[in-house]
Amino acid sequence: MTRTALAGLLIASAVSVVTLQAARAEFGRVPAAPAQTAVIRSAALIGRAALSYRPLVADVYWLRTLQHYGRTKLSKDPHKQYNLLEPFLDLTTSLDPRFNAAYRFGAIFLSEPFPDGPGRPDQAIALLEKGLREQPGKWEYVYDIGFVEYWWRGNFQVAARRFQEAAGLPGGPSWLGPLAAVTLAQGGDRRSSRQLWRQVRESADADWLVKSAEHRLAQLDAMDQMDRLEAALGQASLRLGRSPGDWRDVVAAGVLRGVPLDPTGVPFVVRPDGHVGLRRDSTLNPLPTLGGRR
């Protein structure tokens, strides 16, 4: 066969591969297997099989953790489950017991309530305790446990104790002591919650964590605004002699100059029960109810 003929064959086969792949994507889809596939849960077994590549295998499991969490979080399925999150995190941290991000970010993922996470602060704390067994002096893990206790469990006394404990560990920052005091005195109020999230933002070591903290701070701002708007609604009721049906009534009563917007620029709504709420499409939904309770 001549070289030209071979080159022609090569091009023809390459074009066929691309065409068939495109056709397969369009028409030849096989129904997807359930996403929650089985997972080998024995870190000892995987660790042995990994030989000297344990850290690299841990990285692979970390990537799988992120994929599982991200994919499930974005899924619109109301029955979605995060049931591989904890096993993946456990494997990652067993294969690489000093994988700092897997403990810290993993605890955040585990704590997030459904639908943004599995809502398992107990597993988050267990993961951080595992990290502490590996590195007992790691103030960040103690602080993170305090954070989970504060924000997701509402255990302000435990949280304050953990912040105090973290402050006493090597490298523990100076702001932890005052934070512990504020938490003990005013645990659960918005001021202490705001202080906590500001510290998270200042000390964050990933962009998404900064964004997450800013999101929480925006939620707290929205809650402050909603309190003020509730008062405005009351004032409008007095002037109108009836409950205002929407913001136009409040503006007409001369209490507000225009439709109030939440920190993301979406208008607040007057709910049928007469209270102020976020519009359904506001990204600030759902508002926190524990550490930042109203």
């Binding site: 970390w62 700092n100 970010f105």
Partner: protein, 268 residues
Amino acid sequence: MRLVGRLAVGVFKESVRDRVLYGLVIFAAVLMAATYLLGQLTAGQDIKIIKDLGLASISTLGLFMAVFVGIGLVWREVERRSIYNLLSKPVTREQFILGKYAGLVLTLAVNVAAMTAAFYLVLAYMNWNADDIMRRSWPAPALDPALMIAIGLIGVELLVVTAVALFFSTFSSPFLSAVLTLALWVVGHFNDDLKHFDAVVDSRPAVWVARALYYLLPDLSAFDVKSQVVHGLPVPAAAVALAVGYGAVYIAFLLVAAMLIFQRKDLQ
């Protein structure tokens, strides 16, 4: 010594002719592609993963090079019958073994050095590209000089594996040599378990055999400090010195064994 050097240079030139250095291109491509992709995927952990991946790639490509070049070093000369030509010159069989080994060591050294340079270039790029928030999450600086400790010990491990491959190639076929070398590499990473065999087995003779194998087989886990270095943990100088000493002695043992076998080999 000059003869050994000339033999070594010959092996190096041959490996260049055999396109062994193409491994470097694969390494650079893998690392650069990973750098781009991981940035999108890893929630700020890209530097740790790039370091893990870089060190694992140096180790793996080096291993393949050591095994697949090492197993053919002696066998090929015998098969081509070029060994008669070589041994008719004033070259002893011991010098032949040493020269072949030194040649592969030279090839590996050039490869590892080039891969290390590429690795540091990628890390320098990431360092330059990172902001303060990202740097906060790094357990060690991007251009951490301690990485050289891990790379150095990977180098010593590769020298041991090369000696193992050369040892097997003095008396078996390339296929069998490859299987035996790779098997020994795997066992070498389990070696530490043999020491604690008594924890899982009651039989005294089995424990003695396991203990004997622990001392006899290469303990390749001694050269693995990748995780410690990536996490910025200190690696004691004494541990490094002992590992290097252990590697050197083990290489000497294997080379002497290879020389002894090759001395008695009937080349007719």
